[in-house]
Symmetry: C2
Subunit: 132 residues, 2 copies
DNA sequence: TCTTGATCCTGTAGTAACTACAGGGGCTAC
DNA sequence: GTAGCCCCTGTAGTTACTACAGGATCAAGA
């Protein structure tokens, strides 16, 4: 199932130009070309691109995405390095999860207290501004 | 406790120039100025700025942050509107939480299976590429 | 009192991560 | 054979910052 650029982008949920951009900066490998010069992608490209798109939506920078990809691609030699990095990433992710839980709680609370004419005060801003 | 721009940025955890940028695009209100023309911020500015920084780190665009702020600032008239918006945001947040949980699980699994010389294969990319 | 250092001001230019467009070519289908 | 859709390349524009230049303010020390 070789995919062309447009179809790859569509399935990964990203813009068609983004594919070319990631190729240019080395985040996606240059794919083989078919006879007519069109880029020809495989499942593994789709997998990788979808991961990148999702990680970006979760607030990771492209540099952080690069680090994660290198981690799973096996760029690090020793187990200690891998563990260190994996756990550091996991901690960062936990922080994000906590923040999101707080946001969600605040929004649901607001929605629940919304009845009739009364629009309640939503504490989401105050809650998420605490320096934890 | 009036704060100047540098101290506000430092406490909120963002760059000093970002403050001016948010002011320019209308995300932060223009603060009063002291005698010498310096910007003079209050607690509420710090609260707002910290919220923005955190929301950005969680992958929300500035436009989405604007929407969240309008929601809590009371820009929407009816309760139905507020509920609709709040729940939509909460759903989006739940999706992010799910993705982060999967990433975290994959990373911890990888770290746990790391022993001695063996560096295991990490399924984080494959897992997060599933279109759920 | 003078100067050094830190901070502020404004305007503008540079960077990261896309996104859009112009000009041209390759298929397929009526 | 031409209309419509997709692809190619190069380049320019957008979003969200971030850095820098040139100058003013102000507290503290020599």
């Amino acid at each position: 199932m070789p995919l062309r650029r447009g179809e790859l982008a569509r399935r990964a949920g990203c813009n068609i130009e983004t594919v070319r951009y990631y190729e240019r900066i080395g985040l996606l490998p240059n794919p083989p070309r078919s006879e007519n010069g069109f880029r020809s992608y495989e499942e593994r490209h789709l997998t990788r691109l979808t991961f990148i798109r999702r990680a970006r939506e979760l607030g990771f920078t492209l540099e952080e995405v690069q680090n994660l990809l290198r981690l799973v691609d096996g760029g690090h030699s020793t187990c200690a390095q891998v563990q260190e990095l994996a756990l550091r990433h996991a901690d960062e992710i936990q922080r994000k999860i906590n923040d999101l839980h707080q946001m969600q709680h605040a929004l649901k609370e607001m929605s629940a207290q919304c009845s009739g004419e009364e629009v309640p005060k939503c504490p989401i801003v105050e809650i998420l501004s605490e320096t934890s």
